[in-house]
Amino acid sequence: MKNLYLIQLFTIFKKEFARWSRIWIQTILPSVITIFLYITIFGNFIGERIGEIGGLPYIHFIIPGLIIMPIISNSYMNVVGSFYSGRFQKSIEELFVSPLSSHVILIGYVLGGVSRAFVVGFVVYIVSLSFTNIPIHNITLALFLTLLISFLFSILGFINAVYAKSFDDINIIPTFVLTPLTYLGGTFYSIYNLPEVWQTVSMFNPIAYMVSAYRYAFIGVEEMNTYTAILMMFILIFVLYSLAIYLLNKGIGVKN
């Protein structure tokens, strides 16, 4: 039985990995180009005028946040795009007439999103090295946070895919929720440079904690407590994972 689950899980993961890697020009390259432009414009051109934040060159300050941005968007978009596309083509029925447990289906899709996020994150980091030499302060923590963040947003993408009724619906959350939260999460500035009211508002932005924790893993500087960030991510993963399993067990979005 254990072997059955492993074969099933590996099959879904392999299918998902093949899906995004086959079309890497659509899945990997755009993020890399976008972040390359961000680093060029904000890190190089504008960054030189800004100078330092907290004793660090501005380009070093923003790079962790710039790596998180594609990790969030790619893990989310991979799962929401793939699962909704399966629903749209009805090929998703293949999964539901097979003896797959809800956990295997969900983890398989999530690992597909995580794999894409890791590849994009790694490529963006390599690109950033061409601008500045930014050593990683704690590589284990950086990898662990990449796993947590991509896992979390892959599950969120899955839930979005379950509820989506058209291809337009899969872009609503990334456009109107994730992008604003990411930009307002302290990627380009220190939250403590904001007026007090906006500092308080930022405390309710979960992505601000993730950016802070990631920045700590990269350059050893934290604006918010890293343990709090990790705990918050575990709680969010637990809640969203449970919700996704509930939706799968009920067959919402798939069964009549």
């Binding site: 074969i7 590996f10 099959t11 093949a18 083509q89 090929s91 293949e94 007439v97 069964k255 009549n256």
Partner: protein, 304 residues
């Protein structure tokens, strides 16, 4: 081991919009059978199939596959079932051989096991040469055959075919019939829904007809064939039959020497031939025109 591949008891389905699709369905399909599940469009056939394959939730009632309740033992029952849906539900963007390997993986087969089985099925169904194509590059008939192969990758004991030959040309349909007979002889129980009643009559041993969500007939095919009240024949004579008034009604003249005659099933072919002889006409050829099942189907689904 139960003698039934499928047992449906008191099955009801009401959709969220209030539409009642099934009303107290009771149905048994014996192991080894080829079972025709017939009904007009919208009768509830696909809902029943959706429930058996767990794609549609049950409102009330039970469905057992080889003695196990699908709600309590979904993994067991899914291993036992292969399904060919009515609508194409293939991943359009990957080569069909990858689809087969993926489906095999979902059922716990290794890549090697999936490839071996795929080659056997694709060769039997005549699509091995298309293994690297995507479904978008296949004809309608090839897609149908792919869906049949996909349903059989894990060696199911019960195969559910929801209009498997829809849109398929005659020659291919005959080939598919032979294939269904072959796998049935190999021990696979088949449930077939089709609008081609000749197909059901030729292939199936038992049948059920569903109409407005209710089973209106369930019996052996042999009983159906012998129970219909009217027979229609095409009769060819050796001389003109026009203006002869051999049969006063239920006769349709096709040409000078050919007619179509519908008679009560109590009237034998010998009686028909003798009646022609009484009018100094010899019958050269006599063919049964409509299949009996079609007559029953029309009778049940129009009178209800």
């Amino acid at each position: 081991m139960t003698k039934y591949a499928l047992e449906i008891n008191q099955l009801n389905k009401t959709y969220r919009n209030g539409v009642t699709a099934l009303k107290n369905i009771n149905l048994n399909v014996e192991d080894g059978d080829i079972f025709a599940f017939l009904g007009p469009n919208g009768a509830g056939k696909s809902t029943v199939i959706g429930i058996i394959t767990t794609l549609v939730n049950i409102t009330s009632g039970t469905v057992k596959v080889y003695g196990k309740d699908i709600a309590k033992y979904p993994e067991f029952t899914k291993h036992m079932i292969g399904v060919v849906p009515q609508e194409y539900n293939l991943n359009q963007f990957i080569p069909i051989i990858e689809t087969m390997i993926n489906i095999g993986g979902y059922f716990g087969l290794s890549k090697k096991q999936s490839l071996t089985k795929t080659q056997q099925l694709f060769e039997d169904l005549g699509i091995w040469h298309k293994r690297e194509s995507t479904p978008r590059e296949l004809s309608g008939g090839m897609k149908r055959r792919l869906m049949i192969a996909r349903a059989l990758i894990h060696n199911p004991k019960l195969l559910i075919l929801d209009e498997p030959t829809a849109g398929v040309d005659t020659e291919l349909r005959l080939t598919m019939w032979d294939f269904f007979k072959k796998i049935n002889n190999d021990g696979v129980t088949i449930i077939l829904t089709t609008h081609y009643l000749e197909e059901a009559e030729r292939l199936c041993k038992n049948l059920a007809i569903i109409h407005h969500g209710e089973v209106v007939k369930s019996s052996p095919m042999a009983d159906v064939i012998s129970s219909t009240r009217k027979h229609t024949y095409i009769i060819r004579a050796d001389s003109s039959i026009i203006d002869k008034n051999i049969f006063e009604k239920n006769i349709h003249i096709i040409d000078d020497k050919t007619c179509e005659l519908t008679v009560d099933n109590k009237i034998s072919i010998t009686e028909i031939i003798n009646k022609f002889k009484d009018n100094n006409i010899n019958v050269v050829d006599i063919l049964s025109k409509r299949n009996k099942l079609e007559e029953l189907f029309i009778e049940l689904t129009q009178t209800k």
